[in-house]
């Protein structure tokens, strides 16, 4: 018995060391992905993984460049995200797609910047992910991380675009806001929304915060907003608290419209969620699964066949990420035997070129600036009969 155990342990050791030697094997470029596959934000990470996998599969079916994709779970936790990053580095990752959520991505992008590994995040939208942006007082506290680019809108853009959209479409006379003051994503959008709302003369009657991801009781916030007579509630938050807010508003029979941003995407994917509660909820997002163009139709069909559900914008962003990297690699003649750092320099050069344009699911002719931000335009969506419909 003991002998068997010893042999087994020895075998384990051999395999463990064998793992170390694999760094530059194969002729595929190693793409790493990081995101919440489990936990309160799991819908995002799973969508990114699936979207990226479809893109990698398509690209590998073509001649030329090949990709190998590996996704690691971070449970929407900054510390676990850095751990995931390190384990991907051990695997031999050459390009990073991630992290999916903002707070973890801020931590990971600092690491990838130090290592000079190219990082394109599908959905982490804070400007702190990119660095180099002045805060409210005009100071640049985080230096620009030159290796980091975004596929999604930045938080300020989402806040500004939301205010503009509500104003243009005259969605609300009196507006209430609920945001998570403990979350960089939520607070970032909230601040920009407020300054733009003031500029446009939108009537924001109530601003209510909550200070924890675990908060479950929103009665006090909803009572306060209801008392001010708001007819539209802006929620720049993730879908888990949003599902609670919708349920509690329904319990107290508060008939009000809701408007959210990309964090609300995933609401319909919560297990056991009564989709009637989400009826009429509006959100701003760059992707609509019911768009008529061939690319979207194709992607939605594949996604449905493979995973049995309609893809959300996170899946589409991830799909576009892989294609943007693919286009840039082709343009710069990147090959699998190059080091991560060399690839990073070449990709940064390509992404910041003025004539580098990518047509994707989330926008046509997307370009990137030196700041790492993407330029594309958002679309309004509404949940009707349990599905997203373009406004």
């Amino acid at each position: 018995m003991k002998k068997l155990l010893a042999i087994l342990l020895a075998a384990c050791l051999v395999f463990a060391f064998a793992g170390c030697g694999e760094k530059t094997s194969g002729d595929a470029i190693k793409l790493g992905g990081i995101g919440p596959i489990s936990g309160a934000a799991a819908v995002y990470g799973q969508a990114v993984q699936r979207g990226a996998e479809i893109a990698v599969e398509e690209i590998n079916a073509l001649d030329g460049l090949k990709f190998e994709f590996k996704m690691q779970d971070d449970e929407h936790d900054a510390e676990k995200s850095v751990n995931a990053y390190n384990s991907l580095k051990d695997w031999g990752m050459q390009i990073l797609v991630g992290s999916v959520t903002t707070q973890p991505c801020i931590a990971v992008s600092t690491e990838s910047n130090a290592d000079n590994i190219f990082e394109l995040t599908p959905s982490a939208s804070s400007t702190d992910v990119l660095g180099g942006q002045p805060d409210a007082d005009g100071n640049v506290t985080i230096q620009r991380k030159n290796n980091v680019f975004q596929m999604c809108f930045t938080d300020p853009n989402q806040g500004i675009a939301s205010a503009q959209y509500i104003f243009d479409q005259k969605l609300g006379e009196k507006i209430g806001v609920i945001y998570n003051s403990a979350d960089a994503y939520s607070k970032g959008i909230y601040q920009k929304f407020m300054s733009k709302a003031k500029e446009l003369g939108l009537n924001v009657v109530a601003e209510e915060a909550f200070a924890s991801d675990d908060n479950a009781d929103f009665n006090a916030q909803l009572t306060a907003i209801k008392a001010k007579g708001a007819d539209l509630i802006f929620m720049p938050i993730y879908y888990t608290p949003a599902s609670l807010i919708l349920a509690q508003a329904a319990q107290m029979q508060y008939d009000v419209d809701f408007f959210g941003v990309d964090g609300l995407d995933g609401l319909l994917g919560v297990e056991g969620f009564d989709t009637k509660l989400a009826e009429g909820v509006m959100l701003l997002t760059p992707f609509t699964a019911d768009a008529e163009d061939e690319k979207t139709q194709n992607f939605v069909k594949k996604y449905k066949e493979k995973y049995g559900e309609v893809p959300n914008q996170f899946a589409a962003d991830a799909y576009d990420c892989v294609y943007a990297i693919y286009e840039a690699c082709k343009a710069q003649n990147v090959t699998a035997d190059m080091s991560a750092s060399d690839i990073c320099d070449k990709l940064v050069e390509q992404f910041t070129k003025a004539d580098f344009k990518v047509d994707g699911l989330t926008g046509n002719g997307m370009t990137w600036s030196n700041t790492g931000e993407v330029s594309k335009s958002p679309k309004g969506m509404k949940i009707e009969n349990g599905v997203y419909v373009g406004l």
Binding site: G39, A42, A211, D217, A220, T240, A247, Q251, V270
Partner: protein, 293 residues
Amino acid sequence: MAFLTNLINGLSLGSVYAIIALGYTMVYGIAKMLNFAHGDVIMVGAYIAYITMSSLGLPSFVAIIFAMIVCTVLGIVIERLAYKPLRQATSLAVLITAIGVSYFLQNAALLIFGSAPVSFRSVVKIPALKLFGGELIVTGESMVTVIACIIIMIALTIFTKKSKMGKAMRAVSEDKGAAELMGINVNVTISATFAIGSALAAIAGVLLCSAYPVLMPTTGSMPGIKAFTAAVFGGIGSIPGAMVGGLLLGVIETFSKFYISTELSDAIVFAVLIIVLLVKPTGILGKKISEKV
């Protein structure tokens, strides 16, 4: 009208805390230990109810009864396996074991149910009550929670005062050794306490998730800590104290959210606790027991 709405919200939240706090306070009163796994028994109860309703499609009252049975058995098993061998150990060892059991339950739930939150369908089918021409709305969940809390409270008081087991519980809580000499089976009494506390936790779990319908493996931990605070607030070991503490905590939390700051509400709740304990170290209704030499 906002005042009344908040008062009702606070009472409803406080009632949930009170029901959970009863479990803490009874176990503390009788076994002289803090059962930190109590909050996680709530979560288990809610998951059992969720599965019975959504996967098996059974009606909600069956789900509640089933959750109570599972939690009762779970409570007794936890006591037998984790706490009974430590009856003679230091209180610190028991405390650490309780924290261990809490983590065990959370992680077991993580493995079995996964970490993605599920949306809990309310078991309350009563429509909301509209008063003052629709100005004041009392949700069905609030009414059921408050009424359930009052019924449980009265039933428990009668139980401990009148029934044989209740009398045995009081005797054990007064003096374990003397109770044993009088022919009371201390082990059975402690098991019964855990059984009742865990059955209440199942009810609390279902009510909690009906009012705030998101369920995940960590759902029980924060309400558990708040309810423990409520038990200390009201005077740990005292059944009416748990009720008063729970209700006060819920009302203070809701009012400070509405009138002061949504972000500071937890800080305010715990600051009030510290002040109460400074002024009255045994809690509001706690008895001062002079140490026998």
